[in-house]
């Protein structure tokens, strides 16, 4: 499914544009990423600002915030994920149709942020669902969210239709639903999904 670059540019100079099925598919998807309409904390205010006229998320085809997970492609986890809220977020993610992407927005969503050592805040939503783009910041500015969108678009653009390195949603074995944590007596159970996230090994001086 590849075409010689020289030939392609020569053709386009003649007014004939060629593409691949993969390119067409990814082009369509990356320019119509519909986010799920929900916010958890103050980062959501920046997310709203990013979708308004000044920053204009619509330029990326992502202005259609959907109120239902069934119609959404992208989950922007904007804000602090408390342990009480984490099962809802995972359940919403499970209800989204494939292909689905996750942007973890802000220090809290990627690691727990200033509440990391607290008793009630999840230390990053990537413990339960696979996250595609992490944005640091407290909160990240709307430009950072736009950057994350562009990063996500590049990621979508690079996804393969077939082969062993094809995109996750083409793999019949890859899971579409992830286990929802249960409320335990002292913590969420399990505290993390080992298939998605493992604590990084602490090494220093290497």
């Amino acid at each position: 499914m590849s075409i010689d670059e020289g030939l392609r540019s020569e053709l386009s100079r003649q007014g004939i544009f060629t593409t691949t099925l993969e390119g067409l598919y990814n082009w369509g998807r990356r320019n119509s990423v519909w986010p799920l309409n929900f916010g958890l904390a103050c980062c959501a205010i920046e997310m709203i600002a990013a979708s308004m006229a000044r920053f204009d998320l619509a330029r990326f085809g992502a202005e259609v915030f959907r109120p239902s997970p069934r119609q959404a492609d992208l989950m922007i986890v904007a804000g602090t994920v408390t342990k009480k809220m984490a099962p809802m977020v995972v359940r919403l993610y499970n209800q989204m149709p494939e292909p689905k992407y996750v942007i973890a927005m802000g220090a809290c969503a990627i690691s727990g942020g200033p509440f990391k050592q607290g008793y009630n805040v999840l230390k990053g939503i990537d413990r339960y669902i696979p996250v595609d783009v992490h944005i640091p910041g407290c909160p990240p500015r709307p430009e950072a969210l736009l950057h994350a969108f562009m990063t996500l678009q590049r990621k979508i653009d690079a996804q393969k239709l077939s082969g062993s390195d094809r995109a996750r949603h083409f793999d019949a074995q890859a899971p579409s639903e992830f286990p929802i944590p249960q409320y335990g007596q002292h913590d969420l159970e399990p505290p993390r999904n080992e298939a998605v996230w493992r604590p990084p090994a602490m090494r220093r001086g290497e």
Binding site: K83, K84, Y119, N120, P200
Partner: protein
């Protein structure tokens, strides 16, 4: 507003048998508070709200305090016989101070523009006598804050209309704001590995990958 000792005297006159004690505050703010006994707490609160001179109609804040068991060192002068002669010696005495939980109510009057009057309710201990009367029937605004104190400190408010956990989930067993709360050990690499954090981190790494910190 009349001084606090007058308030106490008027409470004593209005509610016979009420034991109200002034807890002094030595800090520059000098916000002394009233320790109220359980039996008359609701009656005292009602008096404070309805008395025409006080009219403490606004409950600004309810919070909890956890006082651990403590040993208090006090210096005292004791007469002792040393080497046959009686002398006055200064000795340090250790006194056990049992712990308790405390609910603190900050009251203001919007009608008369004064305040705060601070009420304190203390539990018997930190383990099994953790009940205090609820003041929600007097000030409706106390409802959610008393629920929060129940959630985070474990004080049980008798007479509360809907005493459930409010921040943590219902299945949760601990009271996270108590000073002896131990958080779940889901520790991993932290950028700032100091002291207690470092000790925890070491436990989670085998000898092979343990860093030389």
């Amino acid at each position: 507003m009349s001084p606090l000792d007058q308030v106490v005297a008027r409470i004593g006159a209005a509610i016979p048998g009420a034991r109200v004690q002034i807890l002094p505050n030595d800090s520059p703010s000098g916000q002394h508070s009233l320790l109220v006994d359980h039996e008359h707490a609701v009656a005292v609160a009602k008096f404070l709200r309805d008395d025409p001179d006080l009219q403490l109609d606004h409950l600004a804040n309810v919070t909890g305090v956890d006082w651990l068991d403590a040993t208090v060192k006090e210096k005292a002068k004791v007469r002792k016989v040393i080497n046959g002669a009686e002398k006055e010696v200064e000795e340090t005495l250790e006194r056990k101070k049992p712990g308790f939980l405390e609910a603190v109510y900050h009251l203001y009057s919007i009608a008369r523009n004064h305040g705060p009057v601070i009420l304190r309710l203390r539990t018997g201990n930190r383990i099994d006598q953790v009940r205090v009367p609820s003041l929600t029937p007097i000030w409706r605004g106390a409802e959610f804050q008393e629920r929060e104190i129940y959630d985070l400190y474990g004080i049980v408010f008798d007479g509360h209309p809907d005493l459930r956990r409010i921040l943590m989930w219902d299945e949760f067993q601990d009271h996270p704001m108590r000073k002896d709360y131990v958080e779940p050990d889901d520790y991993e690499y932290e950028p700032t590995a100091h002291d207690k954090v470092l000790e925890k981190a070491k436990k989670h790494h085998t000898a092979a990958d343990r860093p030389q910190l």
